[in-house]
Amino acid sequence: MDNKISSGEPINEIEALQRLTQQVDFSAQYYGAWWLGRMRSKHPSAVPLLLSALTRVLSAPQEPDDLINEKVGVARNAARALGKLKAKVAVADLIKALDHPDHSLREAAARSLGELGDKQALSALVAHLQLRGAGEPVGNSLHLGEPCEALLEAIGQICVMNGLKADQDFQKSLESFQHHNRPVVASAACRALLQISGNSKWAEGIVALLKNSQLLVRRAALLDLAACGWRPAAEQIATCQVENSLKLYALRGLLEDSPDNPGPVQLGEREKQLLALMDQLL
């Protein structure tokens, strides 16, 4: 038995690159792609290899391909890794990946476009949100027509990273998701709107979800408030029924990424209150 490609063993960068390069074992490619992103590889071959793993599934196949599912799996991990590696060169291909039939690949591409923060991706992300049936469940599956949560978060993130403020022409499209029947999607819409407008009315919708009966919804709302650095919600975050580790992470977000105080965080009165909330959660 070949032990070289057994799972679970720690590997190094060269091994990860080799696994992604070989064309025999797709589970090894899958792991190699994940490893390069997770470890923030700076190797010059990493981005080109990941790009080729992604683009391989973007053009329509010339003939039926029995291995397409495996290749798409690798492409998803490649899309995620390209975001983590801040590979600006991948923007055009990630935008193309938003059209792929595989929902999870579209979702991974949207998230990575958010991480890359390139303005050029905005119109494509908004366009997918506006597609007919984007917010409707597909048959009996858990998926919506489009990966709305990821699209909304990416739009908000790109606006933050480029300093784009209120009165964006696509604001109406985001607003149409504010009462979506899936609370995590509604929360993502409010998050993007809060990031863009700074208007506290969008925070209220998210804060209300901190008391939702579902743990997953409470977690998502908490992370959305953290992403916005929304300090007025600190006390509600501290008493929300989720794991303390998540609350501490969120409060750190409020301290370090508040839109009210750009620049390094200083020890003022509000900061002392936030630190006291963190201390109680240890």
Binding site: Q241, V242, E243, N244, S245, L248, K272, L275
Partner: protein
């Protein structure tokens, strides 16, 4: 057995939703510290609170920890007897309870947790607890030995790979230095100074907390 307690224990056992379990935990946590100290009833309540730590219900677990802390030293032996090696969520809550109670019998658990627990939230609770061990009842020799173990653990916590453990170690050092003699306080000062420097500590909120602790020092 106390009839009311019996009803609360049953309610926990039979809770069929997350909300029902939270409500039942509240009742049980409230009554636990009011039962006769170290009675069979109180130990039954404490044992049930400990089972709540492993329910994957953060609301109920947080309430149970509050109940255990309110029972103070009466809860320590039962917590030590029931540490769950395979559930690190439950272990984090148990270590958090030990950390808040500050009983020296929990020291070995806190020490082992900061040294080698794989769960960051467990190491985090341990780091905080190492700054809060109650020393008043100890002989001078025991006191010195305990403080050395605490300081060594806090030093490890300051070098942990996870920011939250380093944050907790800073809070631990702040508490620890309050009731330390001069040489221990000096060691705390040096560790806190290091955590406040950008060249050493990359996470802004940890530096901020260290700066706050240093300001309290002078």
């Amino acid at each position: 057995m106390n009839q009311q307690l019996n009803g609360f224990l049953l309610a926990v056992e039979q809770a069929c939703s997350a909300e029902a379990l939270v409500a039942a935990s509240l009742d049980l946590a409230k009554i636990s510290s009011q039962l006769p100290l170290n009675s069979i009833d109180q130990q039954a309540a404490i044992n049930c609170l400990i089972t709540l730590l492993a329910t994957n219900n953060p609301g109920a677990a947080a309430i149970a920890v509050g109940g255990l802390i309110a029972c103070k030293t009466a809860a320590v032996q039962a917590i030590l007897n029931n540490l769950d090696e395979h559930n690190y969520g439950a272990r984090a809550w148990a270590v958090r309870a030990l950390a808040q109670i500050g009983d020296h019998r929990g020291l070995a658990v806190l020490q082992r947790a900061i040294e080698q627990d794989i769960g960051p939230s467990v190491r985090c609770a341990a780091a905080m607890g190492l700054g809060r061990i109650e020393l008043a009842e100890l002989s001078p020799e025991e006191k010195l030995e305990t403080m050395e173990i605490c300081l060594a653990g806090l030093k490890l916590g300051c070098a942990d790979g996870e920011w939250i453990v380093r944050y907790a170690a800073v809070v631990g050092l702040e508490n620890f230095s309050r009731n330390s003699s001069n040489s221990f306080a000096q060691a705390c000062l040096l560790l806190l100074k290091a955590r406040s420097q950008e060249a050493i500590e990359e996470v802004p909120v940890v530096r901020l907390r260290a700066a706050q602790a240093l300001a309290a020092f002078s």
